[in-house]
Subunit: 358 residues, 2 copies
């Protein structure tokens, strides 16, 4: 048995989440099974089920106190969101969600009625995404947690990976970004003020209803990839935004061996998100690049193929360029004209905003 002397051990914070995934890949080794098309490298694993079809498999967990705060997360939304974040990973492979399992960790202060409400949220998501929960288990636990796995299906030729970006492609983002983080800011402030019982505080959340909804019950972009299939187009590279646009563009560049040039004025930001950032005295571009939990899609595609898509559904935010030095892999041209390197979690050589911690 391994030594458990903490002084000889390495703290997880030293290697971070991506270090842990690399550790998992190194310890488990690359899958040697011929049926496995892609393992621990993308939003979901891909394996063949017959000559023409593949299934994709992904898992994601929401943990109380880490991913959500029960004080402001209605349990129905929690059920919906737990499925959404997994469906988003399936959609990010250009696949269709089919079957899910749910493993529920339940602390003692959760009642039967609360569990029912969580299941109702899961059911709403199943209906919205035309899929089915086929199994699950429940366990006593110290905090509330929902661990969901989703199986999706696709034609083998239609799966899109992070690794397919080509120099010259346009980099596109669906919907708008930064709104989920704006919603989280509002909810956190609201909770704080309610706790402090500030006299002059009236909890009017109406001006923030869009950003709050984006945080509590984000939809996965399944409708969009269905439209792509109908139009018979598919991107070169595809990923969903869970950690923020900057992190996801870095993932695409890393996997594809390319660089990226982004343009700040092109970032799609909802007016309500802008208003929220203004109210908090913060830079809305930081919300958009680093906020995360948008569950929109980032994709790259040659310019002439973009005509086949509904222009209402996406924004061109940059282009794929040849790979430069490692610390200048992704550049962003700021609104005032300066072109600065972008890191996954923040700007470089840019002393104003520190990235938010969600």
């Amino acid at each position: 048995m391994e030594s458990q002397n903490p002084s000889q051990q390495t703290a997880l914070a030293e290697i971070g989440e991506f270090g842990l995934i690399a550790l998992m890949r190194d310890t488990l080794g690359e899958p040697t099974d011929d049926s496995i098309v892609s393992g621990i490298a993308d939003d979901a694993a891909v394996y063949r089920v017959d000559d023409d079809r593949v299934h994709v498999l992904t898992t994601d967990t929401l943990v109380e106190g880490v991913h959500f705060d029960r004080a402001f997360m209605p349990l129905e939304h929690l059920g919906f969101k737990a499925l959404s974040v997994n469906v988003s990973d399936v959609v990010a492979m250009n696949a269709t969600p089919r079957y899910a399992t749910v493993s529920l960790g339940i602390p003692q202060n959760i009642s039967v009625e609360m569990v029912t409400t969580i299941y109702e949220g899961l059911k709403q998501a199943c209906d919205a995404y035309d899929m089915h929960i086929v199994g699950g288990d429940t366990n006593a636990a110290h905090g509330l947690s929902l661990s969901v796995s989703v199986v999706g299906a696709a034609d083998a030729n239609n799966v899109v990976y992070r690794r397919g970006a080509q120099v010259g492609d346009k980099i596109c983002v669906t919907g708008d970004i930064g709104s989920s983080y704006a919603g989280l800011k509002v909810l956190l402030r609201n909770r704080e003020r309610l706790q402090e019982q500030e006299e002059d505080f009236e909890p009017n959340l109406d001006p923030f209803s869009y950003v709050i909804r984006r945080h509590l019950a984000p939809p996965a972009q399944l409708k969009l990839i269905r439209e792509w299939a109908d139009a018979d187009v598919q991107p070169h590279a595809l990923i969903d935004i869970s950690d923020g646009l900057s992190a996801e563009v870095h993932h695409i560049c890393e996997a594809s061996g390319v660089g990226a040039q982004l343009y700040e004025p092109a970032l799609p930001i909802d007016p309500e998100t802008r208003n929220t950032a203004t109210e908090f005295g913060e830079d809305v571009t930081v919300y958009a690049l680093f906020g995360g939990e948008d569950y929109e899609l980032v994709f790259t595609m040659p310019e002439d193929e973009l005509d086949a898509l509904d222009p209402q559904t996406f924004s061109v935010v940059g282009e794929v360029v040849a790979r430069e030095e490692d610390d200048e892999q992704v550049m962003i041209q700021r609104a005032h004209g300066e072109n600065v390197p972008l890191q996954p979690g923040g700007f470089d050589h840019f002393d104003d905003p520190t990235p938010p911690q969600s």
Copy 2:
């Protein structure tokens, strides 16, 4: 949003784990998708992948303080066991495990080295079961938890359900039972004595090495169902033992609309398990019927087909009979001759042993 006034709410303990599963099934509804052969009703869900083949999907979570105690559960074994309990559910459908995902909840007092050790245990299990971990995620959490999902494969005609038991079938159990619970008893006593630093206590675990191993690193019975496939036989009904033989036989009877007659002297119990029960002054039959976590298989089959199986690998413990009144669905003939009704979690009309709490 639902009322969160605890006084108006129902405690989970009132409906129990099986009540929660029924609640899940009721809230989510029966799957209406043609591809789904079996949903939340068996050890794993079953869905068609083509005309002849099905996949099965199952999920199971191990939670620190609920399913294991880090004080005596080596992390390597923990990784192995987390995969084993899921593989056991796949095997209980007469299917072969193929792909797994692992969602790891990690508290702050876990180091990189500890996580590596868990992954090494998972890798050992992957090698033992000839399968692959294709994805996963890691999350900060209040306690250590491993949520595993496994996809298995089978010919559509070969899947075996709980519901197929027929009157006249023999009820059979693979390997031996009660040993995992015996191992848990020894480990709990050992921890207690180490904590109390009893003077006369020497922690010699050698006489208990088999039962301890059965608790810490139980193997799933994949080898056995492969032998069945080679011999071209399959049982009428099949389930694995996670909650104890009595609970599993009740599940088969409930799903199949039959009753069962068991014989206490026929229960397969290892001498080390008997010795452990003797040392604790307890009835070893209680360990065997209600201890659980054996991960052996219970199956029913006509007597004349049993000849095709290796007699070393199973014991006949009873037979399937016509269904009687609800509270006498499963009967057991005790060693001293009396025939008493058996409940999922204990004897009826039998005042000696109360079932152990694991």
